[in-house]
Symmetry: C2
Subunit: 354 residues, 2 copies
DNA sequence: GCACTATGGCAACAGCGTTGCTTAAGTGGG
DNA sequence: CCCACTTAAGCAACGCTGTTGCCATAGTGC
């Protein structure tokens, strides 16, 4: 790491604390305490951030017997990002400001049966409508969330469930050309987990799993405050975890996959049973990764939130939270794919220079 | 991060590359390429390391039309560490040099039934015998590996399997006082995984799982090149992953735990079946964490290595390696608990300053 | 023997966080 | 109301980081 990387690192550290502080803001001295830097260093860093328009002064704290601390706040309008969720039959697009607040939403039906170029042209049109035809000032890029599996690093779809014929299609580069801005592609569960990590739904714990039970069952893992994607960006394949060695055959070819068992119970109208199966899978996760929390989301969980929350908490032995579907956690998380690197929240486990 | 932390970071980066290069050594320019630093910066860093006696020049590479590159090597004798494995009935102690090479081994029977202070006094005696009564120059500390569960951060044992009455005993601080050097405590599987990560057994992949099948079944996870310990240092509890929802009750109170099923198959003399069960668990790990390799070890694996390797590779779909039991992977890994931080290989997922 | 190539050190430099000091802006006792 | 005291934040000088430009060294190959 060289000096310019050091500067970026510390600026990101400060920005992340400013982001987490939200409307309350944070003082220079608090930043110094939390980063371990000296107050003077923080003054210089925040001066640069203020000069760049990313941070502004916003009032003062009450005095504690001396000069009151000046409150600093992230300037939400200094940047924004688009987030797009592509689902089997619908598209959700959101515009988020730098603070992660939703500025606009747009939902539309989608037919993924078409050829990828046509579908993506459609996506670009919808994003244009979301932006009302003009490029908002400070647009940093667009994040796209799809069901997966796909390759985050290259932005190429693989055998994305519900999107036939997409295997190997360069979604990221195609859409980047259409939109004229940087595009990042990731799995829907990863996007949601990242968004939840940044929104504070995960509470104090900096490691949690987001479990999404909708058309399928998937997971996004946040370990040590950052999204864990694994060696080939395929981590979080939770639906095909074997939890019943001699169970019924799954469409993936293996037996006793948790997704098959869970969805089967749901289909039979036994949410209690589905919740207990999901709880067993969650308990496996908690034991294996020693994570501090589980967050549940998806259509099927939303249909019986109390049952799922109670059974999973019982089995896993950690706090369980619900992702509010109305807040569009996946589309919002997709936009956070663009914003997160500014705050040093890119994935910390990616292969490093050694 | 401040400048002194930056210097430490870059020094660790260089040392880790030197360590990985082993006897072959590495030139300044290669270090520059791999770290992303300029050649001149590397010259300064290696000059400091040479002045500290950690690195020495060792010959030259063949010329490629100009001045031949000078080879740098880690000076193995610049430091050493003790590693101790405490098992149910035996103690293994090793002395490793800075390069991770084994200098000495000592094995002795152990009765963990006694009170912790008496057992640890015994351990300290054995370490004294390993060191032949004198403190070797450059001794950095002692790492201790036990079956777990235990708390790495505080160095306190919890309900360590095979060690009754140890719950809550401050193993690290007690032993540090007896030995007069820093002590680090961790689970046996974590120690082994760390040792394997540093020894190159994991090959190119910087994420893998070490699965140990002996008296029990446990795992150590290396993600992104560093040991993953989780929020409360309890990660890697693999033995009680549920793989058979309605399976037989386990002593942990849950049903269908992989350890119970696996060991039951072994007890019945069906290693093929045990290997297939272990394979299913390994496949779960690979899917969930997208790791690039599985490493197997432990007494039961050693009794039928081909069967376990073949079945696990088949199920998990990634390369499977064997940890050589004769190389004392757990005791050696325990010593690496002390050495690894020098090379920036402390756990990268520990809670960060934000 | 000489031109060429590649490595690595020396010296000057820009930029990072740190230190010592000063100024600003409050509180609270007399 | 004044003034001592406390706390926050900026200015200037500094030490140390990696970087840049230049040069000495040590090989190859015509």
């Amino acid at each position: 790491m060289n000096l310019s990387a050091l500067r970026g690192h510390n600026a990101a550290l400060a920005l992340d604390l400013l982001r987490a502080a939200g409307r309350d803001g944070i003082s220079r001295l608090e930043l110094a305490e939390r980063t371990g830097l000296t107050p003077q260093a923080v003054s210089k860093i925040t001066a640069r951030l203020r000069a760049a328009g990313l941070v502004s002064e916003a009032g003062h704290r009450a005095s504690t017997g001396g000069k009151p601390r000046t409150v600093l706040r992230l300037a939400p309008s200094a940047g924004c990002a688009v987030g797009v969720r592509l689902d089997r039959d619908a598209l959700t697009a959101v515009l988020l400001d730098l603070a992660g607040e939703r500025v606009r939403v747009r939902e539309a039906p989608l037919d993924p049966g078409g050829e990828p170029p046509a579908v993506l042209a459609r996506v670009a049109d919808e994003v244009g409508l979301l932006l009302r035809g003009e490029r908002p000032p400070g647009l940093l890029g667009a994040g796209v969330a799809m069901p997966g599996p796909l390759d985050h690093a290259s932005g190429v779809a693989r055998r994305v469930t519900g999107f036939p014929h997409w295997d190997g299609f360069p979604v990221r580069d195609t859409l980047a050309a259409l939109l004229g801005c940087p595009v990042v592609l990731d799995k829907d569960t990863n996007a949601a987990a990242l968004g939840l990590a940044l929104s504070g739904v995960a509470g104090e714990s900096d490691s949690f799993a987001y479990l999404h039970l909708g058309t399928g069952l998937g997971a996004g893992l946040v370990l040590g405050g950052g999204l864990y994607r694994g060696a080939r960006t395929g981590a979080g394949e939770f639906g095909h975890q074997t939890v019943q060695l001699d169970g019924p055959e799954c469409r993936c070819g293996r037996r006793g996959c948790i997704e098959a068992l869970c969805l089967d119970a749901v289909r039979r109208g036994e949410p209690e049973r589905a919740a207990r199966i999901l709880g067993a899978g969650a308990a496996n996760l908690v034991a294996l990764l020693d994570i501090g929390r589980i967050v549940l989301g998806g259509r099927i969980v939303a249909a019986a939130p109390d049952v799922f929350t109670a059974r999973v908490a019982e089995a896993a032995g950690v706090p369980v939270a619900l992702a509010d579907g109305g807040a569009h956690p996946i589309a919002g998380g997709a936009a956070q794919l663009i914003l997160a690197p500014l705050f040093g929240r890119g994935d910390p486990y990616s292969p490093k220079i050694r």
